[in-house]
């Protein structure tokens, strides 16, 4: 269906590329995926049907994105990488893949045939198909990564606006708390928090929020401090607007720009964090596939040239995703600098 829509001419695309429809599409892509990954087991059999609408949405968003960013090659490359994984995530249940958790033929090296099955990327030490594990693996990283980042941003932006705009004691207190959190090395914070809450996706969200919200808060605070000196804020104040109104309608829309760039970078960091934590055994838990987990599980068995593919596959996968985020960020920055 996505295809036909695209064929029906740019006019539609133009209409779609206005903010509202884009957001709608994003939600259409995001909510099902989140639901599927977070509550899939509750949805029981046929859970994958929720992903159906997400697939066209993804494709459509990608097309729009490419059109919007065509000025910057970097951004387009980044976008492509990210959306490749997004597409994989939403369409994984529909792809002709073997069960990622089913042991078939251990230690099958890539591009070899076992019985009537051909293993593109081989199988891991339990004989689970690496290809399908890699593809399924991106789901959890993406969902948890993005969720965590978003939550962190809501929190960070909120406090940033408050301490930036209201200043005074608000600022003193918020900034102090931020300093406390910032003076822990991120990993220490992660370890302590996750060790306390126990390893799980939701706790990762909490941990990431604790770890990144302060930094975000600082950025937003800085922007707010700058913007609040602008005459239009002054005008709003002299109009007797309520601080809340000013923060939400006058400040927030104008901090959006710089934040989006930072968000892409941070998505990268979060992905790194999740993978790393999972590798350390503090993150997502087996058996469902996840890149960090694949590394963790293979690290013990694959320490040999001929088995190194077990490590390389997830390592390269995660790197490509992060590269995608970073390039996207770079592209966006580049464009924002141009005009």
């Amino acid at each position: 269906m996505a295809v036909t829509e695209i064929q029906s001419g740019p006019s539609l695309l133009d209409r779609l590329s206005r903010p509202k429809p884009v957001i709608a599409l994003a939600l259409l892509l995001w909510l099902p995926l989140t639901a599927y990954v977070m509550f899939g087991h509750r949805l029981g059999s046929g859970a994958q049907n929720v992903l159906l609408p997400a697939i066209p949405a993804t494709v459509l968003l990608y097309v729009l994105g490419v059109r919007a960013f065509r000025e910057s090659r970097v951004a387009v490359i980044g976008l492509t990488l990210v959306f490749f994984w997004l597409l994989m995530a939403v369409s994984a249940p529909y792809l002709p893949l073997m069960d990622p958790n089913k042991p078939i033929a251990p230690f099958t090296t890539p591009f070899t045939e076992r019985g009537d099955l051909f293993f593109w990327l081989g199988t891991d030490f339990k004989g689970r198909d690496m290809l399908s594990r890699m593809i399924w693996g991106c789901q959890r990283v993406l969902v948890w990564g993005v969720t965590a980042t978003m939550v962190a941003y809501v929190v960070g932006a909120m406090f940033g606006l408050i301490s930036g705009y209201l200043a005074g004691w608000w600022d003193e207190i918020i900034s102090f708390v931020a300093n406390v959190l910032l003076s822990f090395p991120v990993m220490v914070l992660f370890i302590v928090i996750l060790n306390y809450l126990g390893p799980s996706g939701f706790n990762i969200v909490v941990a990431v929020t604790f770890a990144s919200a302060p930094a975000i808060m600082r950025i937003v605070r800085g922007l707010a401090l700058d913007i609040k000196t602008r005459d239009y804020v002054y005008a709003a104040q002299t109009r007797g607007e309520h601080p809340l109104y000013i923060m939400i309608f006058e400040l927030l829309p104008n901090v959006r720009g710089p934040i989006i760039v930072d968000a892409c970078l941070r998505l990268g960091y979060t992905t790194v964090a999740i993978t790393t934590l999972t590798f350390l055994g503090l993150g997502l838990q087996p058996p469902d596939p996840d890149w960090g987990l694949m590394i963790r599980e293979s690290a013990r068995t694959a320490m040999l040239w001929k088995f190194s593919y077990m490590l390389l596959v997830p390592a390269l996968a995660v790197s490509s995703l992060i590269l995608g985020f970073n390039l996207l960020a770079d592209g966006l920055r580049e464009m924002s600098l141009r005009d």
Binding site: P199, R300, T301
Partner: protein
Amino acid sequence: MSTNKTTNTMHPKVREAQEQMDSGRLSRREFVRYAALLGVGAGAAYAMAGLPSPAIAQDAANLPFPADDPNAKAGGILKVAMQVQKIDDPATFSWTQASNQTRHMLEYLAMTGPDNVTRPMLAERWEASEDLKTWTFHLRKGVKWHNGDDFTAEDVKFNFERWTDPDLGSSNIGLSSVSAMVEEVDGKKRLIDGAIEVIDEHTIRFNLTKPVLSFPEDMYNYPTAIVHRGFKPPLDNVINGTGAYTIAENVVGDRCILKKVTEAGGQPFEYWGGTVFLDEIHYYNFDADNQLTAFAGESVDAIYDFGVEQMELAKALDGEIIAARTAQTLCCRMRVDAAPFNDERVRKAVTMAIDNAAIKPLVYPEGGDVGENYHVAPVHPDYEALPPLTRDVEGAKALLAEAGHPNGITITIDIGNTDGPWHQTAAEAMRDQLKDAGITLNINVIPASKYWEIWTKTPFGATAWTHRPLGTMVMSLGYRTGVPWNESGFASAEFDAALDEAEATLDVETRKGLLAKASKILQDASVMVLPIWRPVYTMASKSVHGYPAHPTQYHQFNKVWMS
């Protein structure tokens, strides 16, 4: 000492046994086993059995160790990758690794060799009364402590007294032998007076409340290392032992360095066990996952063990893979007093829906035996096969329905992977099979440390049990009514009685039967899914000679040498 001297003092049962053997009811090996266990020097026993003695020292001192390899070279340092643990108090060791660190310094009354035969070690020989309620140990003379003291019965007494002190929290108190010297007075265990009699400097007798068969085996249980009578924990303060080596440095989580002992209390030290070849034994701390990679990286000459998932890697490495068939297992037990498993039908349904024979190859493609949902392994001499289990999905469904779960049931198993990720593999295999019977198995993977917090409490958990030389041993450790390690909460007087009987019987044939009876009770109660008897794999480089493959990974390097 001469063979006939041995035969003179030979336990009457030995003759009996020899007859059994001759009449073919007892395999030669089994004969050797308890000839030795009844105090006959193993060498002699082998002789009687007409077996070629497997390089067991023939000399009168009947040393428990293999004979010296003629082209053995003295010297060299053996580097082993293993978790280096805290060794404050041997009596409270929780892990084999810790005992390995001390094993070449603190020795045991008996020693179970790689061949699963138990021989006298610090004891020279022992005798059991007819009823197996009185055991007399004759201690080896000329054994010296590193501080120059002689090794005497006092040392042994001291150790037993420690083990039976409940506040020490030593797991030895659970050993059938030791527990048979303990009485419970208003909820507090204590040693029965007169349970231990010191006859003379080198003779000590134990009077037990019930017949115990496995006394010698118990004496090579990892926490039963004999410490000096003056011992006070922590060990580091009183580095003292009878072994050929002593601990020069022990840094937890880093390394444990053992050096050959040269002098004891001023005089040159003369090790009772004959020549040892290695100058030093180094343990370097590598957690289970990394030992093989450390070996691959040639940081070490040998490792403690590696998991089956690493087999392919091991095969690809240049070294010798040493596998041992064991009674180590994964016991997925259901707590009989916790819903839904307090309903026997549910437990039965679970066991019926699972086909152990199908699981084993998935988990351990090579080596190992199929488990039969009770805790006796084919490697045990007193094992007798029960009628084979058959998978019955329909029956399982029926039982579930009967138990009030007509459209299936969802259960959760706690997996700690305490003995490696193969636990999880097994659980996953079980999950796939249970599906057919409408049972949904959620696998709750938790960190090992967390698992140990709940291993006795969780309704459904997979606990790793280590190898014990006799079938009766684990049965009484884990399934007698109310024993501390009864993780399933299984309580059956019938079972206890059957087990008592088995443990009181020497005759293998009869004991097999009796143990089988107890086993059947346990199996029918469907307390556990025990799918696998795992093999243990370890690895040593080609330059290491005589590296033993012990079913419980007890290291005994006295005769190991390096080229």
